[in-house]
Symmetry: C2
Subunit: 326 residues, 2 copies
């Protein structure tokens, strides 16, 4: 397989570049005229670490890689702009397979208004997809970091959690989903294989005054800790208020796991966790609803340090360890 031939096939399939892009794929570098502020994030998926090729299609792997990178832009409240793709190609993936994967990337790029503006293709021992995503905002003050949460803020969560972890269990042991309607099981597997970045909800939360925001890639327990540490505050989460995806309880029970523990420790839900002045909760909920997502109040920001997840009876939930190379 030739790198230039492959890139030529990819280039001819791409939709027109966005208005900020002056030179796209195929030169030494892409040229853009960003204006305002940019948010830039990189995210890598490696076969055998983040995905298995027998659990989903190559196009799904491509879409998930871009979704994970765009989710970081969602957590800043940025508008997606450009993406740059590094593809590591193992000996057992041919040129058609590469094109199928990159078509998956291009599909989500088109759907989200992202221009694929550059890339690099190399041989590698395992299929690797590393994506740099660049988002935009009129000014840096409109982008939401992890660092601005203040004691007294409400803690809010978009959508539902636990679905990606339950979906992974269902993929790994199909018996775990035996008690579910086929459609519910399918939806859980999709949460694992086809995550959707909450781009519109992220911008809605930014406009509604979110003081800090993070996307749930490592799991609620770990990501809440990041937000607390960067903001220099404590976080209290009411486990009873956590919206679990339908079917999580059934899959967790079949796998001998506690559903809340699974939802709080499992990563890859790509929902947004944000802190928000309580006075703006109503506005934020309406704005997120307009972005076709739900918003649940799941806790509060307090003075101090650390994250407490309190079960309905008052007992504390300990999320599983989350500082592992993912």
């Amino acid at each position: 397989m030739g790198e230039f031939e492959l890139l030529a096939r990819v280039r001819e399939r791409l939709p027109a570049a966005g208005p900020r892009v002056r030179v796209g794929m195929g030169d030494d570098a892409a040229v853009t005229v960003p204006g305002g502020a940019t948010a830039t994030s990189v995210d890598a998926l490696v076969e055998g670490v983040h995905f298995r090729r027998d659990q989903g299609s190559l196009a799904q792997i491509g879409r998930k890689a871009l979704a994970a990178a765009l989710s970081d832009l969602a957590a800043m409240g940025a508008e997606p702009g450009e993406a740059y793709v590094v593809l590591g190609v193992p000996p057992n993936l041919d040129e058609d397979g590469c094109v199928e994967l990159l078509d998956g990337v291009a599909e989500l790029a088109a759907a989200s208004g992202t221009t694929l503006a550059g890339g690099d293709v190399t041989r590698a021992p395992a299929l690797t997809v590393a994506i740099t995503a660049v988002g935009h905002a009129p000014g840096p003050e409109l982008l939401v970091t992890r660092a601005g949460a203040r004691p007294g803020d409400a803690l809010v969560l978009s959508g539902e959690i636990g679905g990606a972890a339950a979906g992974l269990l269902a993929l790994e042991r199909p018996g775990a989903a035996a008690g579910l309607a086929a459609e519910t099981a399918e939806r859980l597997r999709d949460r694992q294989l086809e995550p959707r970045p909450r781009l519109d909800a992220g911008r809605a939360l930014a406009r509604a005054g979110a003081t800090a925001m993070i996307d749930l890639s490592d799991g609620l327990g770990g990501d809440a800790r990041h937000l607390a540490e960067e903001s220099g505050v404590g976080i209290r989460i009411d486990a009873g208020a956590l919206p679990l995806a339908t079917g999580v309880a059934t899959v967790a029970a079949a796998a001998g796991r506690d559903p809340l523990q699974l939802a709080v420790s499992g990563g890859e839900d790509y929902e947004l966790l944000a802190a928000l002045p309580t006075g703006r909760l109503e506005e934020a909920t309406a704005a997120v609803a307009a972005a076709k997502a739900t918003l649940a109040r799941v806790g509060e920001v307090v003075a101090g340090r650390g994250v407490e997840i309190r079960l309905p009876g008052g007992r504390l939930l300990e999320p599983a360890g989350f500082d592992q190379l993912g």
Copy 2:
């Protein structure tokens, strides 16, 4: 090894961020205020494909990965700005090894005025370093693509070529460098292990009116073809005018290779090849000299298609195939 621990160690070692960076490493995304135009390029190095760990230090691998990405910015005439690093960590690399490699990246970043603004660390079967480099210019018209060469332009080349390929031969078969002074052999190995991006020369050429520019990563033959194709022109190179690095002839002879063939087909010299109106040759040569590099006129841009490399006797040199996944 924990990802967050490693990132914490890296963050505390970084110098202060550049003026465009408002939020650096450690949030969902970096926040910058670019102004003007940006040039963005990605480049990946994979163990066993692009480097061997027994041929150089981990810091050298880090420096080379950033050098390769910055070289693309040099070829646009951009000022280096920010870099984002994906590190794939194999089981046989510990946290100290990761820090040594990232220190190498950080060292060249500091020397070149680049801010390490973000990254991702993941497990991987082979050591992988993928870097996204972002450069800046006051406006998009000041960045030089591969597409503007016109018939009648002179073709110019910075520095010397063949050194990286000869250095690789010397690393792979130490006997090939036996006829060289120790210092010359060392310099060739450094061309392979420690490439320097021609950032200052690239900006000098852009200001001096370069109509098209590319960096030599695949080899002169292949890279000239890219420039010719993107510009829709032909290129004639006078092989007798090509400046070969000292020692290339000796190493090539010892390895049974033709030195010109080696220099033209061997990649990774990271010199700049540019097209330039002949009336601006003198100004360009002086500007590149001020950037501490030499500039050689090595050919011309002609109407037509394709690349011809003509040997002193009139015979044509055929560069070896270059469209392989690197």
